[in-house]
Symmetry: C2
Subunit: 466 residues, 2 copies
């Protein structure tokens, strides 16, 4: 055995590795005895403690039995792990770039700018959680509806800031919008119930609906609001998915009268409304209308919120607020299930919120997005003027640009790409490929850097109009 | 403004807090000017840098605009966040005990012993990931099928250690067994297809099946193996859920001939087998039979594995290995979806595996569970002798104790509880409340401490037989 004192691998680890090799290679067959600690320490000119550490690891992992004084005997552990002992040495880690921009100027929607996630604060919180008694929760199955602390933090803010009337019990922590909707659907009757959703609308939800056996009906939202109710009343859904505070992707706000009418409709028809309030954290011009949930007196609204836009899309963390009747059904269905979000994600988020870091983080992000919103809208007005209409409502992380000269979105997107600018179509959000917003492109500003917005819009204007 | 130099709150933070209070309280109304940095520094006898840090936070969070030299003006940000500025100060964190044992001696199944999760290694890995360029992934939506690195680590071990024939592409990272099965079901036709599962069988899967609209048929596994095939062949399922390496909860091993027959049946009937190999990491007496997946030549087996027993039940991390035909369907259904497991959980697990820490962790845990298995089986034999039959197969984290004097499990469980020992029934694992294992109780050893096993069994024996 040759020890390398200059190696970054500690001596006890070198000894452990070497003996493992000797056992695997037959130098120490099953039943044979390892050298005594004292003898090996003398032979290798190192301390007995070093040998002792190496031998303890070997005992702990079952390669040998024994203890100091009575000798260490090599064990047969071939049945224990199907040959895992023979796995080769650790491999080096390859970082893979998380996100490749689609172009020099990428106006994508959804991803966030590098640096948005509060990584430093998170490291400290994870450290603290794993060091404390809380960390013991890693070893057990926790509450299927989510961690109490997190549900309390969410409910408290919803009540206080959004007039959403709820107790922590009604808050169900989920692993993203799709998972939430998939689980919510199990509370309905997929053979007899119809579900409805906005058209155009968020494709993630449409995909979940279409993977189910529910009949899915579109309700038009790009025209007059009357069309929406016409469709809704014609199809008798038990559940309708809407984004009233900023319709995705049209950026329309549902007027207050339409809100009241929708709630009354649900009440009269024993139906439920799934209100996806995905972008309420970001308002740039005026206070938003109250959520449907806050206007609902009869428990017809399921409120859904997310951490993807304000904290991390990669954390897969959102929540539902269930009205009492659906909460009972939910608890009946999922009482004996397991949570779908890791305890550590939930506990760290709760801690981040409870410590007040959440509010500071959010304020900074709001200011950043406000600057980006202003930069984008003023660059568009400056560079494109009357050639386009801008569809936005002073909220969220995207807007629509309607190019008035009759060119299609495919053509506009291709021209942009040729100039290394990525903008996006809206086809995927529609129920059918024929739709009235063929001249609109979606321009997001969540992922692009603030300083790239003005030059990006200039490049886009020149691609389209020069 | 009064600064407290002895406070643990840094001075700049005290200044920031104080000015925020003054803004909220109207001392500095919207449009008013804050004191100059220089003036305030002199007044408070502190450095300009301190004031500058406080003012920078206020600017960053939008309370004021301005920069050194030109003055700081209080802003109206009432529309930005619905009053979040007025939220009270951070609350202190309340640790909640993660796990309350059901009794002095709790032989529960599933939860792991405190200390199982490798918290120290995890902290280092999370630290490292969040500090490195990898951490940028927190800001974006990642691969819906799971992180490449993790899928590679899993596939490599499966191929090498379990003869499971798969590429990383076939490995789909999921948020636990229930989520996996729920998603897998979307690849089948819920109106026309029948699914089947073992009876008794894991209730988590039965719950998912019963929340769906699939017709669910039980296949008997507590009697002769012929009964299983009788039921299977009678109900024509498209998917059958089995736990061949250690049937849950009976601990039976599916014989090799039955395995071959099951695969041939699937091939002949265009059906799929969902093989849940939930406890393969823990074998105490002999090498296990090869997984069904390794015997399958025609792509009829979906293999499912979990990290809940060997790493953390609270992490919500498992995986499916899909055969090519189902993989195509899966990709079609979920290509545009989002992952269901946080990037950080996936990346940390991959790093833990790639570094070789996984194997060392697993070996230690195997040795620990081996000791617990031996302690439990020998204590049961010693304390209860011929009064009971022990149903186990030298694997997993539980066994069944069949009390031969005809008392029911309810009676036995109640007697145990009265002596502060928790053992469990098997009713929940059966399709119907009538079943032949009424005198069996489930005794788990994943959560109980090694040193509590012998005294716990003594207390149980005295509760039952004295």
């Amino acid at each position: 055995m040759h020890l390398d004192e200059s190696s970054p691998t500690p001596l006890y680890r070198q000894i452990y590795d070497s003996i493992r090799e000797d056992i695997a290679g037959g130098t120490y067959p099953v039943g044979s005895k390892l050298p005594s600690i004292r003898g090996l320490a003398e032979e290798l000119h190192c301390s007995r403690n070093t040998i002792d550490s190496a031998y303890s690891m070997l005992v702990e992992e079952g390669f040998v039995t024994g203890r100091p004084g009575s000798g260490y005997i090599v064990q047969d552990r071939s049945h224990l792990l199907e040959g895992v002992d023979a796995l080769p040495a650790p491999r080096s880690w390859q970082s893979s770039p998380a996100y490749r921009p689609g172009a020099r100027y990428d106006f994508t929607y959804g991803n966030l700018e590098p640096g948005t996630f509060p990584a430093t604060a998170w490291r400290a919180i994870v450290d603290d959680l794993l060091l404390s008694v809380d960390g013991l929760a890693c070893n057990v199955y926790t509450n299927p509806a989510g961690e109490e602390e997190l549900r309390r933090e969410i409910a408290w803010r919803l009540t206080r800031l959004r007039d959403v009337d709820c107790s922590p019990d009604q808050v169900i922590v989920q692993a993203g919008t799709a998972a939430s909707v998939q689980n919510l659907l199990t509370l309905f009757d997929s053979v007899h119930d119809v579900v409805a959703m906005e058209d155009p609308g968020y494709d993630g939800v449409r995909q979940v609906f279409s993977r189910s056996t529910f009949k899915v009906m579109p309700c038009r939202v790009a025209g007059p609001v009357e069309e929406f109710f016409e469709d809704l009343e014609a199809c008798h859904p038990k559940l309708v998915y809407v984004t009233p505070s900023s319709q995705f992707p049209t950026c329309r706000v549902m007027p207050i009268k339409a809100r009241a009418r929708l709630i009354a409709w649900a009440e009269a028809n024993d139906a439920y409304i799934l209100e996806d309030d995905y972008c309420r954290d970001f308002r740039y011009t005026e206070r938003p209308l109250p959520p449907l949930q806050s206007m609902d007196q009869s428990g017809r609204v399921v409120y859904m919120g997310t951490f993807s836009k304000s904290l991390s899309p990669a954390m897969r963390l959102n929540y539902l607020v269930l009205p009492p009747k659906l909460l009972d059904r939910w608890n009946e269905q999922f009482r004996n299930s397991y949570p779908t979000v890791p305890w550590l994600s939930q506990a760290a988020t709760a801690r981040f919120m409870a410590s007040g870091q959440w509010e500071r983080h959010l304020r900074k992000l709001q200011m950043k997005n406000l600057r980006k919103y202003k930069a984008l809208t003023s660059a568009l007005r400056e560079e494109m003027g009357d050639a386009v209409d801008i569809l936005e409502n002073g909220t969220g992380l995207h807007l629509l640009v309607d190019v008035k000269d009759g060119r299609s979105q495919d053509e506009l997107i291709a021209l942009a790409r040729a100039s290394d600018v990525a903008v996006y179509g809206t086809d995927r959000y529609w129920q059918s490929p024929e739709h009235p917003l063929k001249s609109c492109v979606l321009v997001g500003f969540s992922a692009i850097a603030e300083e790239d917005i003005a030059p990006g819009v200039r490049a886009l204007a020149s691609a389209w109009f020069s």
